[in-house]
Symmetry: C2
Subunit: 460 residues, 2 copies
Amino acid sequence: MTAAVPTPPPVQPPVPTPSEQVTALAEALNSGTMQTVRKMLRALHPAEVAQLLESLPRAQRFIVWGMLDHEHDGEVLLEVGDEVRVSLIGEMDEDALVSATEGLDIDDMADLLADLPEAVSSQILNDMDQQYRSRLEAVLTYDEDTAGGLMDTSVITVRADVTLEVVLRYLRRHESIPSHTDVLMVVDRFEHYRGVLPITALLLHDPDTLVGEVMESDRPPIPADMPDGAVAAVFEDRDLVSAAVVDENNLLLGRITVDDVVDVIRDEGVEALHSYVGLSEDEDLFDSVLSASRRRAVWLGVNLITAFIAAAAIGLFQDTLERVVALAVLMPIVASMGGIAGSQTLILVIRGMALGQVSSQNVRALLLKELGVGLVNSLVWCGVVALVAGLWFDTWMIGAVIALALIANMVFAALTGVVLPPTLRRLNIDPALAGGVLLTTVTDVVGFVAFLGLGTALLL
Amino acid sequence: MTAAVPTPPPVQPPVPTPSEQVTALAEALNSGTMQTVRKMLRALHPAEVAQLLESLPRAQRFIVWGMLDHEHDGEVLLEVGDEVRVSLIGEMDEDALVSATEGLDIDDMADLLADLPEAVSSQILNDMDQQYRSRLEAVLTYDEDTAGGLMDTSVITVRADVTLEVVLRYLRRHESIPSHTDVLMVVDRFEHYRGVLPITALLLHDPDTLVGEVMESDRPPIPADMPDGAVAAVFEDRDLVSAAVVDENNLLLGRITVDDVVDVIRDEGVEALHSYVGLSEDEDLFDSVLSASRRRAVWLGVNLITAFIAAAAIGLFQDTLERVVALAVLMPIVASMGGIAGSQTLILVIRGMALGQVSSQNVRALLLKELGVGLVNSLVWCGVVALVAGLWFDTWMIGAVIALALIANMVFAALTGVVLPPTLRRLNIDPALAGGVLLTTVTDVVGFVAFLGLGTALLL
């Protein structure tokens, strides 16, 4: 059978990746064709505008911010990081800020309100209608990092004792349905959460069916005080699009949608690496020099203290160093290998704790395994180190000293890497923030003392 | 008006956080009450079983794996990390593996197939029905880390020229609708993608409406070869639940759903921190000692080379060190402060590049800012360092030497932090993987040479 020649398909341009758009726009900005810039800006989503603003040096950032039609100001402010948001808000007058918040969802309004100047936020609160305001106040009573702070209060609720036909008629009275509505929430007459009615059930079942017959009552609700990280884990484990949020009496407060959960997961990922080197999660790429310096100065100061502690450890062995200068040359190797091996263990344990995989039940087994890994790898590498050191300084004894010190430091590093995070957690210190600095202090001190101590004992 | 006493609300137990469940189960396991363990296991979702298995030492892991009813083996295998999956597959016989893959979605099957022994995977491929197999082969032609590798081929498609009534009747013939179906895909008669029909449109509009009248044609499809990180950015920016995947001719191949995107974002976050210390993304907490050692040995070897380079830099100044032992004591301070300052800049730039915020257009502005931050913070701290060093060794000259070296190293560290990631990217080396090690090599060498060189010039 010969096929008829098909009409040529209307190829739709695939979505450009965000960075391509931003690069093109930044080029247009630099070449100064404002007409082009304006045209490109109009084609961008608020999230893309946000990304563009974040990647512009401050002077250009404020120029572009001024060129935007201000219809989506609120959405853009919600998408940028905290620091960039504050820089943009600083450039806006009161009227612009008030109008930027118009029409926002409750959860978004709650996020934004915290960053606005006092005068503006109280004006906005005054202008609000009563219902919106009382809902907003409900969200504001919860910490930003909990389910209550994440939730949106625009929820469609239905009763279990009505038919799908009634629900369908009720929905048709809406002009639109809130985005990410994959389920309607089923409540009793006191607004207690009973379960969910999937939208698809409305399509698949006979309209005469009762909601109670096809609702899913095995979907537990999320308590409003659950930390946002745990909420994210629930969404990941159960592949949810939305979930009900309830108070301690099972009263339905609102719902959380996956788009907000995605942001939580992204922020957790960025935060993990940032806090490991003492950066804040929301660091503005183009913060002012003084403000960025101030933020990072504290971390450098902490590191300076630990560096002096390591130096003091070396200072104990000045006599030895004066007589065997080779020890001074080689000592960073022992400290550095311990630091690397310990960091690997540390990161593994911190991640395991964050995912709920490390507990008092298995920390012992984990310690044994990591000590084993530290021992095996120190044995593997100490031979190489001893050989190179022995050849370099033409004496095998220094090879023996560095090999023994390396084994001691790498095994102690494994011990520290396993024990430190749970200990810090018990002291209410974030292991992801303080763990790395403390660990390298330990591996520096142990490395220097082991190496120089053994050198004093065996070489003098 | 006195209210009638309401009936007491049926309080539903809120969802326990994953780690609480896992801890309770691990306790039951350790106390040896197998009856309890079996009961608890039955109450867990596959994702929770996966988490439990990941947090158990290997011996216990295999015991629990044997106790599970094997209905959800496939789902559990998909949820655990790569390394844990391989350990579990190693414990299963051929029949168990074949039945574990029964009923899997195409995208999941593609993921699992790669980890199965040759004999098993060819048997599974042979037993497949023709349609499923050709769809699977379509997915397998794409790299796992692209949109094509992420996509599922179970898509409900409709034509633009039918009425909603026809669509509704067509849907009612299904027993269920694939999860995360927020939109139906609209295609022409050659299966070219034309847009989406939101499920809610079926509810809100008159059944006589044509699909073409209410479909959304402004949702660009995702090309099958788009990298998964860019797919995640599109989902984040546009708050999508699902999106169409097309080939270069706009032919609809499948769809990507947000639950898979969530996993991509989570993995990216874990990977960022893990690769910074040379761990693989899927590191098994309870890998065997030998296997874990082998994985980490390479990274330690790379670090050893860089440590010897730093030692060689120190070796250039042996005469100086013999005469001024204070330099040996203080030299780690200069190297360490440069390493910390440089790492902060490096992480900021790497993240900026990953988010598409750093480009050739703004790297110059970024460099100037980071050089400024490096200069300001080195000026802030060099005074403190000089004071302590001067008091400690009772000579102000050594304070001047360490202050100057600190400024030089911190400014050079900022330069390296900005320039290194784009350079590595151009050489096709992952900056997140190699950046940290290379940066500290630079800051060690520059720190030691600057400090000992200045010491040689000014103190001898």
